[in-house]
């Protein structure tokens, strides 16, 4: 083998550092001369074994050459101490021994040594082993650094997603009492979905209620959802009549055309309730039906007008329907995240499976609706939902 056979390590972030621990100064000097011309390598020598740990801590070697027989402490005991040391445990330790003894070799490996050389080794062989073990250790350091960077990025991303979810939640209206009692349960999924909803009295007589679900997850979906909420909340949709559900959906369909919004679109349910006429006009777009439970009836009426999701195709007409509300009727508007979960046997939960959960009036108070979320969580055996969970209940006086 020639000297040219040992390629250089060019990694600048983790230089190769060799620490020799040997009580014989002569050995220290011999090894120094062997590596003196190697610019890719930093060398340090420790003559006193009792100082080896402290010196390794400060020098941060990528490989330790450890003499086997020393006064006061034997080399393998030191190797064991390296392997129990938090900072040094992964640093490769090469035992230097004057004996070519299989039993000693076996014990060395048993007690944590990574390699074994009979001293003084050939220079080329020594450099090759230093390089081999240092490269492995440096790769480990780089991998650990990459994992830490990835974990840090994930922490930052999770924080930003949580912030987006908190912002969406902050825009949701408070539960309200009056001619219509309204309460809701909302849980954002871990990756932030695109659900949002709102309700307000347009005037003394007319209440609007809407819920939308942007297809897809993440901050982009949340941003679009917030944009739609703002357009509806500020009535900034031109001259559209907010008492006409089909007109509102048609206007949103043109304003939020998917090609102009990063190919995102949304499903939506929109209704207007007039408390004097007790008329509920509604329209939906690709959204699961709102469920109207008449007082004393277990089976709901499904309020839906089939149409493509909002934004998918410009110029499409939307239909609306009308029904009439009686006292104590309950209306549930929700996103598909409340029931699109899997049973433990892998079967998909369906809307038909979900409906019976609402057949009887739920407990009053803030936890009444949460019972439903808890039940669905039990079905999927997880409190973590893959989609936003949005459930709004309106009880009419």
């Amino acid at each position: 083998m020639t000297e040219q056979a040992v390629p250089e390590i060019s990694d600048k972030r983790h230089p190769v550092r060799v620490l020799l621990v040997d009580d014989q100064r002569m050995v220290g000097e011999a090894v120094r001369r062997m590596v003196a011309d190697e610019e890719w390598l930093e060398y340090s020598y420790c003559q006193k074994p009792e100082e080896a740990i402290a010196m390794a801590e400060s020098f941060q070697p990528t490989v330790i050459l450890q003499d086997l027989v020393m006064p006061g402490i034997d080399g393998l005991t030191l190797v064991e101490q390296y392997k129990q040391h938090e900072q040094l445990k992964h640093v490769p330790a090469i035992v230097l021994s004057s004996q070519e003894d299989p039993v000693v070799k076996a014990e060395s490996f048993t007690r944590g040594a990574n390699d074994y050389l009979v001293k003084l080794p050939d220079r080329i062989e020594l450099l090759a082993r230093i390089k081999h073990h240092s490269e492995g250790y440096i790769h480990l350091l780089e991998r650990n650094a990459a994992f830490e960077a990835l974990a840090e990025n994930q922490r930052i991303l999770a924080g930003e997603l949580a912030e987006a979810a908190d912002y969406v939640r902050s825009l949701l209206p408070a539960p309200t009492q009056g001619p219509v009692n309204i309460r809701w349960d909302f849980e954002s999924c871990s990756s932030v979905g695109g659900d949002s909803f709102g309700y307000r009295w347009l005037d003394d007589d007319n209440l609007i209620i809407y819920l939308l679900d942007v297809c897809g997850h993440g901050v982009g979906a949340a941003l679009l959802s917030v944009s739609v909420m703002n357009a509806l909340g500020n009535e900034s949709l031109g001259n559209v009549d907010f008492k006409q559900p089909n007109a509102v959906l048609a206007c949103l369909n043109d304003v939020f055309e998917m090609e102009r919004h990063n190919n995102m679109y949304f499903t939506m349910w929109y209704g207007v309730y007039n408390r004097h006429s007790r008329e509920l006009r509604y329209a939906s777009a690709g959204h699961p039906p709102a469920l109207l439970y008449r007082a004393g009836q277990a089976e709901p009426e499904c309020l839906v007008t089939p149409a493509l999701p909002v934004g998918t195709m410009p110029g499409l007409p939307f239909k609306e329907k009308t029904t009439y509300i009686a006292a104590d009727d309950r209306l549930y508007v929700y996103s598909d995240g409340v029931y699109e979960v899997q049973y433990q046997d892998g079967r998909e939960m369906t809307l038909e499976d979900f409906m019976p959960l609402l057949s009887k009036p739920l407990a009053s108070g803030p936890d009444g609706l949460k019972q439903i979320r808890d039940t669905v969580a039990t079905i999927q055996q997880s409190d973590i939902f893959e989609d936003d969970f949005s459930l709004v209940e309106l009880t009419f006086q």
Binding site: D213, C215, G216, H217, N263, Y265, T267, S284, A285, G286, H287, P288, P289, V304, P306, A307, L308, P309, T312, M313, D336, E340, E348, T350, L351
Partner: protein
Amino acid sequence: MADNIESRLEGDIMVCAIIGRLDAVSAENTSAELLSLIASCESAKVLLDLSKLEYVSSLGLRVFVQAAKQLNGSGGTLKLCSATPPVQKVLEISALDSLLDLRDTVADALGAF
């Protein structure tokens, strides 16, 4: 590339069977693959066979919408057939069953072009 589309020619009609699920994981790749198939095929008539499609989410609807837009833009026609019950419900809610002429069987749909 999506591996959940099987395509064949029936006369001058390209029949694409979509298999498995169309959800947040698969919708984008499947849509890109289908659009590529449509672009590379000389036929302007495309039938999507949904008999092996188990589930479609609202996000998965983009596969049908974008294919329909591409074909409409070039004077072509897209039809659907053989939807499984859960898929049919989603198509009904989104009106795609009527907009894209959903038929019960492949033979029925082929005869309707």
